[in-house]
């Protein structure tokens, strides 16, 4: 089957944190790196509004996902020092576990992992010359859990976590991530299952940096515009440094999905800067 649905969504923890104390905690911690970053600190009402807007965007994505009736959802995300430390930094990693689990505050996550599809992707990579690392156990973290909470709240289908190193220098190039996406599309084409894919992360944000609180909105809008035009291929010429400058290295996860959709135009986009740290972006490509 060809890919039936492609999605991309931010995974900022505050999307799933409760407005009020949980948001305040989150901001207190992040602004300890750069107190000046808190200049635009959102009020409780603004927090609630952002949550509502994110829920609306996720509802649109979820409707597209459900309409596509997928048998499996590939989740392309980055690790943030949960599964991988400097003794073991995979560039691209495919999960071949039986189950994958994780927790985010009071929310628990527990999915079957589609390891057969994972192995098919690894094997296809070996044929084509993409060198995936792999493993039989991972712990889900906010980079997967935040979007999954809204998009796949019931574990009705298995998922397949794939990791891209967006987090530790040196990261793979946007071009290479695009090629990984092309490979996934080829594997999906040959698979009997209906495959959906989700990229998480971004958009512009500077976590753990003195630039926390800055959001490069114009860069983000430019990216979304390119996706609406179906010209994602043109983004392969960005360098990791370009993305780093805009606080968008997690866009490398998105580049995998952009490679998977090729020249398809995004059918839905939404964007909201959260005034805390991150430009929240949401995209759907209807493929069937």
């Amino acid at each position: 089957m060809p890919l039936v649905s492609a999605l991309a969504a931010s995974h900022a923890p505050n999307i799933l944190l409760e407005p009020g104390r949980e948001w305040e905690d989150f901001m207190d911690l992040h602004y300890s790196m750069a107190p000046q970053g808190s200049a635009r600190r959102p009020t409780l009402d603004q927090q609630k509004k952002l949550r509502q807007d994110a829920e609306s965007a996720f509802a649109a994505l979820r409707a597209d996902l459900e309409q596509a009736k997928p048998d499996v959802l590939i989740v392309v995300a980055n690790d943030q020092f949960v599964n991988f430390f400097w003794n073991n930094i995979p560039t691209f990693f495919v999960t071949i576990a039986d189950r994958v689990q994780g927790q985010f505050t009071k929310h628990k996550f527990d999915y079957r992992n589609h390891k057969e599809l994972g192995k098919a992707i690894i094997r296809a990579g070996m044929e084509k010359g993409i060198d995936f690392s792999f493993g039989e156990h991972i712990e889900l973290q906010h980079t997967q859990n935040v979007p999954l909470h809204f998009l796949l709240p019931q574990a009705t289908i298995p998922i397949l976590p794939i990791y891209v190193n967006t987090w530790v220098d040196p990261a793979p190039s946007p071009r290479r991530c695009y090629q990984v996406g092309e490979l996934i599309r080829e594997v999906a084409n040959r698979a009997t299952e209906r495959v959906a894919i989700l990229a998480t992360g971004g958009l512009s944000h500077f976590p753990g940096s003195p630039r926390i609180g800055e959001i490069d909105e114009s860069f983000d809008h430019q990216l979304l515009d390119v996706m609406r035009q179906g010209k994602g291929r043109s983004l392969v010429d960005y360098s990791v440094e370009d993305l780093l400058k805009a606080g968008d290295t997690e866009f490398l996860n998105w580049m995998v999905v952009i490679g998977a959709v090729g020249d398809a135009k995004a059918s839905f986009t939404a964007y909201m800067p959260d005034f805390v740290a991150t430009g929240w972006g949401f995209v759907s490509w209807k493929l069937v």
């Binding site: 923890p13 944190l17 104390r21 949980e22 905690d25 989150f26 207190d28 911690l29 992040h30 300890s32 790196m33 750069a34 943030q80 020092f81 949960v82 430390f85 400097w86 994780g102 927790q103 985010f104 505050t105 009071k106 712990e139 973290q141 906010h142 859990n145 530790v168 976590p207 753990g208 940096s209 003195p210």
Partner: protein, 81 residues
């Protein structure tokens, strides 16, 4: 990377509950288990993520030192990964 052990300690503070518990009780003792320069130890004692960042630690790991700060001990951040 040049600050491997420093980064490792910060990583363990969030990801390894036993290390966190021991560090809460006796941080000096926990520090002896890592190969740290006196400058790195001072930055850890200061508990200031900005100082750790100046030593080359990844920004997100720098924030983990706050877990030992009484004001941040119950922060929701530690309830998610």
């Amino acid at each position: 990377m040049s600050c491997y052990d420093l980064s490792r300690l910060l990583f363990d503070l969030k990801m390894n509950e036993a290390v966190y518990q021991r560090a809460s009780a006796d941080f000096e003792n926990v520090m002896t288990g890592y190969d740290l320069s006196s400058e790195e130890k001072d930055a850890l004692r200061a508990g200031d993520p900005r100082k750790l960042r100046q030593l080359g630690v990844h920004g997100m790991l720098c924030l983990y030192i706050k877990r030992l700060n009484p004001q941040f001990r119950d922060n929701i951040y530690w309830a998610q990964k």
